[in-house]
Structure formats: C-alpha cells, structure tokens
C-alpha cells in the first residue's frame, strides 16, 4: 500500500489545479492519478482557442492551457500516474487502482480530491428512435477522433443539441471539409455559450433550429439520413414540421453528466440536480477529507472557473491536512429558488471563508432584465441586476462575509425577480 497526504483522482484541469494549489499551500506528499495516456484531460482534444481569458488574460488553446499546468506540476515535482484507473474508493479514503506496470495497487490518502470530470449523455439516455447504424457519435468522441487520433468521422453531418462541444465540432468538421447541414436544439434557447453560436455556426452559415428534435434516424449500416421536427411547448414533435436531411453522420451534443460512480462507491452524498457531490465552501463532500472540484461537481461553462474552483479545493485540502479547516462556527445552507436551477456550494461555514462567499449557479431559462436576489432567512441582502441570463452560462454571486459573520447560521437563497418588482 502506498500512502500520500493528498490523492487527486483525475489529471484534467481540475485535478492539475487542485494538486498544484495544495502543494503551494504546504503539502508535499501528493499523487495525481490519470486514466488516459497523458495529463490534461479533455483539454487535450479541445484544440480551438478561447481558454484562459480570465485566468491568464490571454486566449489559449485547450492543450496550451493544460500545458501551463502540466509544466507547473512537473516543476513542483508532484507525482502522477498515467494510464491508471481507480476502481474503487472506500470511505476510509483508500483507493484500489490498477495499471499495466503496478498491477493492482492500494493507495491511501489522508485527503482525496475528486476531479473525474464528466461524461456525455448518449443517444440511449434521450431515447432517440430509429435504426442503430454506424455514424452516430457523441460530439466529444468525434472530437477525440478528429483532433487526437487524426481521423474524420463523416462527410455530411447533422448535430443534435447545441451544447458547446457540438458547436465547436460544427466548426471543426466544416474546416476539415465536411458539410455540417444543421444543428437542432430541443429547447427554445441554446445550451452553449453565445460566443460559440456566433463563431461556430453564424460565421459558417450553419443553421440552428431551436425547439426542434430528432424524430428518426435512417440507415441500416451507416447513417443515411435523419428527420427533425419542431416541438410544441411540451417538447412534443409537431406533425407537419418534419425536415429530412441526407447525411452520413449524426453528432450528439445533448448534455454532460458529472462522472460520479466512484463518489457513489465512497458513500458520498450527491445532488440530484447537478449530478455531482454535495459540497461546502471548502469543496469538501459529505465525507470528511474527500474534496471535489470541476465538472465532477457541476458542469462548468469555462475552464477558467474550473481552475478557480479547483484551486479552492486544493487550498482547503491542504488546510485539512494541516488541521486548519474549521468545522464549527456559523454555517449556512444554500438553496436555489425561483428561476435558479442549483447553487454550489450547498453549505457555507463562514469561519473558512477568506473574503467573500462565492456562490455559483445556473438559471433554468433565458431571462432579460431581471434581478438576482440573495436572501438570508428570507431577508434580502443583495440584489444584482442582469440584462441577460441564459442556462448555458454559469453565474456567480459574491457575498461579503460581513452579512453572515454576526449570524449563528441560516438559509441563503437566490431567486430571480422581475426588475422593479
């Protein structure tokens, strides 16, 4: 058995930032475990730019963004294992891991940081009828083929779902010579960033059909065509609105799901809305000493926010190791109310907060000119006016600790109110 102070599961942006921050905060014995052949996680296949605007104040590609952290990790001498899979986490924070060289290995961490990221929703999860031919790919799998393995997945493409990876792949496949015929989105708004709609669809004249869904896939062996239709307010297809496209490829960009099979094995409490662990201000889960950060907690829109959140997790895991994390003192639960889908963190212990309590959330629909209202036990403590809110973009609110310091605890809520209400 190997022993470390902190074991980080996942060597993507979340795991890298958490490990580096933990080291900066005085913990030397750290191990990062990565299942792929290199560090960097999904960033390695995101060869487009637009990463790092907030963290580095410049535009980087995914691999460049990852490389900055990988180099720092190497420079700091933090150990890592590649091609290594964590099979199981026990509540006593011991891991069963496996790879080709070590075989089966037990590793124990005084603290564990979960940074496994997320996976893509599949065709089955959304129950698309039709045949099951070759040529149906999730957008991320197609991205890996095209950007990392160097192979094209098709020539005529329709994309279902307007998540960011789907939008990025619409542009990428176009640049590689494929014809991207359309993007269909079930919701009346896109699930992706506005900048991606402009730069990946509008600039290439790829039509985006909102409130549309896929109703049929044709083709016995390889995709030969698909049919989309407009949906009504109950998201049911409207007869007579069918449009057929001849294509050999269907990409799915229909959402991401935090990857928490390991969290479940450790008995960690999960939030049914985010699909990720319930966490406190220190990014600590319901199991003491197990922290979580990045897309395993909730799906982020920008990697920059993943980095920030993961630094917080790394810093607090270091505090936990040094026994500097406060467990007592005033604590506040958070709750999403009208218009807000979820809030992370779920609980705030004010003693551990440095300057402001940062709440991260997503709204449940597109809104214009609304107030985001923060209440403490029903009393308004902060109002932020927003011109435009969309589910595709993560929102954050900072609450100065002065509002909370004198209280002994309570309930922090965020809701949306019409401006002027």
């Amino acid at each position: 058995m190997l022993n470390y102070d902190i074991v980080v599961i996942g060597g993507g942006p979340a795991g890298l930032a958490a490990a580096i921050e933990a080291k900066k905060n005085g913990v030397d014995s750290i191990l990062v475990i990565e299942r792929d052949r290199e560090l960097g996680g999904i960033l390695q296949q995101c060869i487009h730019n637009g990463f790092g605007l907030h963290i580095f104040k410049e535009e980087l590609t995914g691999p460049e963004y990852a490389q900055r952290f990988i180099e720092q990790l190497e420079d700091m001498g933090i150990s890592y294992k590649l091609d290594t899979m964590v099979l199981d986490i026990s509540e006593d924070k011991s891991l069963m891991v496996m790879n080709r060289t070590d075989g089966l290995l037990k590793i124990r961490g005084k603290a564990i940081i979960l940074a496994m990221g997320c996976r893509e929703r599949t065709r089955g999860a959304i129950n698309i009828p039709g045949t099951r031919p070759a040529g149906v790919f999730t957008a991320g799998t197609a991205q890996r083929f095209v950007n990392m393995e160097g192979y094209m997945v098709g020539k005529k493409v329709v994309i279902l779902g307007s998540g960011d990876i789907g939008l990025i792949m619409a542009r990428r496949l176009t640049l590689e010579g494929a014809e991207v015929k359309a993007v269909a989105e079930l919701m009346p708004y896109s699930g992706g960033l506005t900048r991606n709609i402009v730069q990946c669809l509008d600039d290439f004249d790829i039509p985006l059909f909102l409130s549309h869904t896929l109703i049929d896939i044709k083709g016995r062996d390889r995709v030969e065509g698909i049919t989309i239709a407009k949906v009504d307010e109950n998201r049911k297809p409207i007869p007579g609105t069918e449009q057929h496209y001849e294509c050999d490829t269907l990409l799915l960009s229909v959402g991401l799901i935090p990857e928490n099979e390991l969290s479940k094995s450790a008995g960690i409490q999960l939030d049914s809305i985010t699909g990720g662990p319930v966490v406190n201000e220190a990014m600590e889960t319901s199991v003491k000493g197990i922290f979580a950060c990045g897309n395993v907690v909730h799906v982020h829109d920008l990697v920059d926010w993943v980095t920030e959140e993961s630094r917080r997790a790394g810093r607090n895991a270091a505090k936990f190791i040094k026994d500097e994390l406060w467990d007592g003192g005033p604590s506040f639960r958070t709750a999403a109310e009208k218009g807000i889908r979820y809030i992370v963190p779920h609980m705030v212990r004010v003693e551990n907060v440095e300057q402001t309590v940062d709440l991260f959330m997503r709204v449940d629909d597109v809104y214009t000119n609304v107030n985001m209202v923060v209440k403490l036990d029903g009393v308004r403590i902060r109002t932020i006016t927003k011109k435009h809110l969309a589910p595709g973009e993560m929102e954050s609110i900072k609450i100065p600790t002065k509002f909370l310091k004198e209280k002994s605890g309570g309930l922090l809520t965020v809701c949306l109110e019409k401006e002027g209400a």
Binding site: D102, G124, Y151
Partner: protein
C-alpha cells in the same frame, strides 16, 4: 464436399453445429453476416422460458421443456452466463387469474416442473416493486435468463474447436440438387454438401424455396425493448410477465445476466426483414405497458433501446423436418419464441432427423465439450488479478470504464475461434460499450485494438455489417480546407 452444410449462424445454426461436431463429419457453418448471432439471436428478451405457454403437443412445447432442462449443463460446459431465476405471470383481476390457471394447466401437460400459484403477500415479498393491486401470479422456478449471443458464440466456438468450419460473409444465393447432395452457391463461391440444414432464421422461407415449392412463410414480427443501467438491475428479481389477454401478451420486465434491466417487447408484423429500427410509438407502448406491472419503472435509467425481428412462421409452430421433395435437406424454420430456450434440444433433434435420413453418426474420441473459460477480470480475486497482470500487463489496462473491461479480455475474445471482427462483435463478447456511456469512452480504444490485432487500418474497422464503416479517412489529407474557407468567404460576401 462437406457432409453437412448449416445455413445460418444464429443460435439454432450454432446449436446444430455444436451437436454435429461430436461426430466424425465434415461440417460447414455458413453465415451471410460479419458475425455469429447477428440476427434475431442478438435482439430478443434473453429468456429461458419455463414452457407453460406453448400449445400442448406442439414442437414449441416439446423443445421448450426439453431445451430448458439442458441449460445448466450446456452453459456450464461452454461458460455461458445463465441464471435460473424463475418467472412470474401476474394477475390483476379475475380474468387474469383464470388465464394463469390455464397456463398452469398447460404447463402441467407440457411437463413443466415445480410450478406454483402465489398469492399477493408471497408475490410482494419476492418482488416489492410490483404494483400493490396484484392478486395472484404463476411462478415457474425453472425459467431463467441467459446471454443469448454468448450462447450462440460459445456453441460456434466449441463447434469450431471440434472441427466445424465457419464461413462468415457467405450469402447463399442458390442451391441446386445434385445426384448425391446439394450445390450451394454463395456470393463468395460454390460448395457442395451431402446434407443441408436450413437455419436461416428470417430468411428460412427463401432458402427453403431454393430447393422446394413454397410451403410456409416467415413473417418478420418486430419487438422493441429498453435497456436500463445496472444501477437498477435488481429492480425485479425474476422474469416478470404480464398475463396474456385478448389485447396481447403484454411486456416483460426482467434482469439480464449482465446486471441490467430489460423491458419489452411490443409485437408488430412488418413486410421488411431488415426493419430493426425502434419507433416512438413502439417505445412509448412498452413504457406505458410496463406500468401495468409496476408504476415504478425507473425510466431515468434507460441507457439504450433496440428492436429485434421474430421469425414467425405462417404455420404457427416450429417447422423442423426433412423435405419429402428434397431428401437430405432439413428445414429448421420459424423458430420464434421460445426458440432460444429450445435451441439445444433442437440441435439434438436435428441429429435424429439426420440419422433417420441415413447419416452415420460416429462419435469422435477427440470431442471436447468444454470451452475455455472467458476471462472476466473484475470477477477475479485481487490475488488472481495481480497474478494475471504480471503474466500479461494488458489485463492492467481498463478499456471500458463503465463495465471495467480490460485490454487483455478484448484481445482474448478477438483471438478466439469465431472471434470478434467488428466493434459490435467485441461488444457482444466482452461487453465494452454496453454500459452507461455506451462506448463514448472506449469506442476509439476498441477500434485501435481491433485494427492492431487483426492487422488492418483503423479506417477499415466496422461497427457491424459490411457498410457500417466508422471513420471516413484521415484528417488533413486533401480535405479541401482552403476551399471551405473560400466558400465561407464567398458566402459572406453574398
């Protein structure tokens, strides 16, 4: 010249092949597809039926009960996943109770052992997730669940190990009667055989008509299913049938041998023998119909849907006979449910027919009924795992994260007799890509391994049949990037 040619490598053709491989015969198994078990065998309920359903005196009734009794041994010999978990037919009203009583009586005549009627308390104690308004159920403890394609693949592998030849991607186009046998034309050339066993599934009528006048039709009858994540695999413990009524047979809910849950099928007669698409109506029907058994069907955990075609005979019963007008040509046709259960018994019956037709069955001393065990890495003890990785480090590399399948297991099933040649072939044998991410993570890795092991380019790797190509070529090779930029620029100017 072969002694026997078997047309069709579904579960029936494979069962016949394995039985024949016990004897000193030159046998060829001919399959039009890229893999064994690629038709009805890969898309059905995966149930080993008790045998109370079929009409007494029918071939279905006989081979169901006989086949059922053979499963323990054959699955043990061939290392096929099989669990005798029992089945329940649920009754929710008086009419249902009468119907299950009839099933019970029929079961007694058919020779189904150990059936019993259960009352509400007994049922809910066994199956707490069922609807509480249930009043009675017929329990058949001999019913079970099996891996249907695993069974077919294992029988084929064992048959080949014992001398049977397999010809994949050989589509039979014509059969001519010769003086002492048959000339079989395929799209890959001709071969001769003294005896022909027609196990062509959905196409058994067409193959029959190559040597004789039409005497039956095979009607493709589609059934659709949903498969659920392993997290809800123990939602029910037994195979849960609904009571057959005038409105239909109802849908079943059952665990699978892989730990998933399956719900389905509906039944829809079609004209086309290739229509294996699911439909919104069909999937909607099974979801609604499933609620009759339990309101709590965990639809959030659906991971995939599929459809299969039953090879329904126009005659109503299995057709297993030597043709009077074509001696030495044996039809094994119309093998719809309970065909999977009946398969091992049908294999033996075909031997009898051959013997009656003059084939001399001389047992081979070298016959080995045991198939080398599949390696299921995650089922090993920690010590065994460690040992195995030391011997072959490929077992230390997980390829499918959802099902924890290692590279070593995938290489093993590619290298076996009747081994995997396609991504779906790998999936059926070792299960990568069957989990909740449905191959999103392991797909590219499985393709890489297939290309390496079979020494082909990755762009040649198929998902399933010929034509199910996955990649269209390398990037950055004359893809017309410049042109697409120009096209976009031109479009902008317009």
């Amino acid at each position: 010249m072969y002694d026997v040619a078997i047309i069709g490598a579904g579960v029936i053709g494979c069962a016949v092949a394995r039985e024949l491989s016990r004897y000193d015969l030159k046998v060829v198994l001919i399959e039009k597809d890229t893999d064994i078990a690629n038709g009805t065998t890969k898309a059905n309920s995966a149930i080993v039926h008790g045998g109370y359903d079929a009409k007494p005196g029918s071939l279905k009734a006989r081979f169901n009960v006989e086949g059922n009794a053979m499963f323990d041994e054959i699955c043990k010999e061939l290392d096929v996943p099989f669990q005798r978990i029992g089945s329940l037919v649920l009754a929710f009203d008086h009419e249902d109770v009468q119907a299950i009583q009839e099933l019970y009586d029929r079961g007694v005549i058919n020779g189904v052992p150990n059936m019993e009627m259960l009352d509400r308390e007994q049922i809910l104690a066994l199956e707490p997730n069922l609807n509480k308004d249930i009043i009675a159920a017929l329990h058949a403890p001999t019913a079970g669940i099996v891996g249907p394609w695993e069974l077919a693949i294992a029988m084929a592998e064992n048959a080949i190990e014992n001398g049977v030849e397999l010809k994949l991607e050989h589509k039979v186009t014509q059969i001519e009667k010769l003086e002492n046998g048959y000339g079989i034309s395929t799209d890959k050339g001709k071969l001769k055989a003294a005896y022909v066993i027609n196990c062509a599934g959905l196409y058994a009528d067409e193959v029959h008509n190559m040597v004789a006048d039409p005497s039956f039709r095979i009607i493709p009858r589609r059934g659709q299913y949903n498969v659920f994540d392993r997290s809800v695999g123990d939602f029910v413990k037994k195979v849960i049938f609904q009571c057959p009524t005038k409105k239909g047979k109802g849908v079943l809910i059952a665990p699978t041998v892989h730990g998933n849950l399956i719900v389905g099928p509906d039944a829809e007669e079609l004209d086309c023998k290739e229509s294996i698409e699911t439909t919104m109506e069909g999937l909607g029907f099974i979801r609604e119909q499933g609620k009759k058994s339990t309101e709590k069907v965990p639809s959030h955990a659906i991971i995939t849907a599929f459809a299969g075609l039953r090879a329904t005979p126009s005659t109503g019963d299995f057709i297993i006979e030597e043709l009077t007008e074509a001696k030495g040509f044996i039809d094994v046709a119309g093998i719809e449910s309970p065909g999977l259960t009946a398969a091992p018994a049908i294999g033996i019956y075909v031997l009898e027919l051959l013997k009656n037709s003059g084939v001399i069955l001389k047992e081979k001393e070298s016959f080995n009924p045991i198939r080398r065990k599949a390696i299921r890495f995650m089922e090993l003890t920690d010590e065994e795992k460690t040992e195995l990785i030391k011997r072959d480090p490929r077992f230390g590399r997980i390829i499918c994260r959802c099902e924890s399948i290692t590279e070593g297991e995938i290489v093993d099933i590619i290298g076996r007799k009747a081994g995997a040649l396609t991504v779906d072939g790998v999936k059926r044998r070792a299960r990568p890509g069957t989990g909740r991410c449905q191959g999103g993570f392991c797909g590219p890795r499985v393709m890489e391994i297939l290309a390496r092991e079979l020494e082909m380019d990755i762009t040649e790797v198929l998902k399933d049949r010929r034509g199910s190509y996955l990649l269209t070529g390398p990037t950055k090779v004359d893809t017309g990037i410049e042109e697409s930029f120009d096209a976009v620029a031109a479009a902008k100017e317009l």
